[in-house]
Structure formats: C-alpha cells, structure tokens
Amino acid sequence: MVQELGYLKETPSQTAGPYVHIGLTPNYSEIGGVYDADLGASMVNDKTHGERITVTGRILDGAGGLVRDAVIEIWQADSAGLYNSPSELRGTADPNFTGWGRCPTSSDDGIFRFETIKPGRVPFKDGRKMAPHITFWIVARGINIGLHTRMYFPEETSANAEDPLLARIEHKDRLATLVATKEGSVYTFDVHLQGDRETVFLDM
C-alpha cells in the first residue's frame, strides 16, 4: 500500500436558512443590545482614500422573483489595489478601509446597498493586471452552498477586455452578467440565480 495522504475533508455546507439575519445582522432583525452594531455595516470612514461609490442591486430567482431574505458579503481591494488582510504581502492597505462589507437584501423591496470606494487593480497569478472588481458571496434560504461571483465596472472597457477571468468565459454574451450599470456614483448589480440571464458564478 502507498502512504496515506491524511488530509481531512472540508466541513460540508448547509443553507443559511430564512433566519440568517439573527446570526449575521441581529440589529437588522431587531435583536438589539447584543452587539453594538452589525458587523460589516460600514466599510469606510472620513479618512478613507479613494473615489466614493454606492453599490446596490437585487437578487432574483429563476422565476424573476425577488430574493428578500439573502445576505450579501463583498470583499475588495482599497483604492491602491491592496487588500486589508494578513495574507496581503505586497504592502499595507488603507487602514481606514475594511475591504469587507455585509448587507441583507431588504425584506420589503429586496435591495442591498454598500457605501464603499472604487477598488484599484490587483494582479493575476502571472502578474497580468485584473480589471477592478468586487468579489460577492451570496447566502440565503434555498442556497445550499454560498455563491461566489464578481462585479466589474462598465467604464473600465479596456481593463475588462484584458481581464483574465472575463477572458475565460466561453459564451461572450454572458460577460454582461458580471458588469454593473452606472449612474453617477451609483453602480447597480442585479444577480440572477437562474435562467436566461443567469449570472456567472465561480468555483475559486
């Protein structure tokens, strides 16, 4: 017999369920007094460097219905393209920018909203630059394992054209599902879980 590798198996995922807000955004779900504020509710402060933007949108199911019980987390680089993470070895990120945010989709109109900054470009593994992007992670009732995707910026035409991830999408008509629409400083990014306009989801 050959040696055993001895690796453990990853703990399997389960749905976050309809009451995910109790754990992740208790103040939003009217459980006050346990935590001062919901984690990830604020990403920036007065001193944060970079161009202020709003990222908003909705999650839609395979019948076009609003998903009103999702929680979205985003993760992004600062304006200089550095991540606020111990695993960031290229430099020190803006200490006034968390890089991470968390927001539920509204139980009324299904809209999520982040006040953040436009991220700088970060390198791909081979040194090529990726286009500016924000990584999304979506959990909800009915989603058995969190869905990863990315939002790209519509005005970054030339950067998007050379982005290594976008280049890997075989069906070019699907590229548009990862690009937000822009109006002033507000970017709208609707995520379609299923169907003709299905968003490209990632296995990273």
């Binding site: 990853e10 703990t11 890089g99 990315r150 990632l202």
Partner: protein, 249 residues
Amino acid sequence: MSDRTNSKLETGAFFARDRAWHPPAFAPGYKTSVLRSPQRALLSLDGTISEITGPVFGHSIIGELDNDLIHNFAKHGESAIGERIIVHGRVLDERGRPVPGVLLEFWQANAGGRYRHKKETYLAAIDPNFGGCGRAITDDEGHYAFRTVRPGAYPWPNGVNDWRPAHIHFSVFGHGFAQRLITQMYFEGDPMIWKCPIVGTIPDKQAIEQLIAPLDWGNTIPMDARAYKFDIVLRGRRSTLFENRLEGN
C-alpha cells in the same frame, strides 16, 4: 479589523473544493433550492489574490457575553430557559492545522424551536430572555467555545409534515474569502437528522456525520451544563514551495 491576530504569512491558494462532498445547488427535496440554484456550470479558476485574502477580525470586537447565549439577551439576573449546554471544538484546515484568529457566528431557535425573527410564525413561545445569536474568535490553537440552551426541533412548510432536527447554524470565516462557510451542527442521536430534507441535500452519509456533534461527557460541567464537541474543517492551503515566483520569472 486592523489588529492582526494571525502572524503567520499565508499566501498559498486553497485546495479545490470537493463539490461532490458538499450539497449540490439543485436538490429538489428541499423545495426552495429549485428556483434558487444556478443551472449553468460554475466558472473554475485557481484562487487569485482576491480569494486568497480575506478579512480577519480582532478579539477587540468580542464582548464579554458574546459567547454566552444563555445571558447575552437576558434581563439582569435572569437566564434563558432550556437544557444548558456548552458547544466547543476546533477550527482546522484540511491539512489538520489549527486555524487561529477566525470569527465564528452562531444562531439558533430557543428550547421550544422558536426563532426570534419577524418572519417566524410558529406557535411555540418566544423566550423573553433568549435572543439566539452569539460569536467567538478561535484562539492560537483553533479552539472556540460557547454556552447556550439546546434548541428545539421545529416544523417548516416544505413537505406536509417536515420538521428540522435540533440544530445550530454556524458561519465561519477563514483567512481567505474562498474559505467562507456556513453550515449547521446537529446533535448526536437525534432520529430527526435522517428524515430532514435539508440534511438530505448532502449526498454522502459520511459527510452528514461530519455535521453531528457527539456528546462530550468529559467536558460536561457537573450540576451545570452538558457539553457537545463540534470541530470544523476549512479548505486547506497549498504549500507555497513553488508559488512564490510568478510564472515567467
């Protein structure tokens, strides 16, 4: 976020996820997954710096009662009602190494199976002294612990007569955003586990057993609380032996 509890420099990409071990997106026995599951294949890409990095939270965010669900919502001098338990364990990666300094968040129903949530209409009563949320950060060896009451089973409108087994929801951060995981912990010996359509989304019996916490008699505190042990395994990082040099250099 800025106080760095993790001093080890970790730069390797993660082991690929075994998606046959996890539940598939489309699992029609769990009805809500039917319209909320992507039908196109996922786009695969080896982890870039956008996924290898992730937020790390300092111990300073944790309040004194954050890991005590019996008291963190209770009126002064009162406690939540129910079977008092301690849930503890370690967060490890697939290589068996402890994952220190990671945030865990927990949420659950009360002893009667009732969640404190405006969408919840189950007729079992709310416990005025139980909120149902808690959090902890793993220590240098990956340990975490919290104190709570054992949640009750509760009915849900999936099949005509479906009931969830007693469970505690867990949200776990690793050191990279690609390690992000939400799961549920079940209790040893609960016959409801094997009837549940959400548990049943997981195809492999061994994978289901990985979510069942054994009664940990050794850590039970006499005349106070029983203990359950629940270890969590996150994706492993590759060794960086050949990954420090960019291709072409």
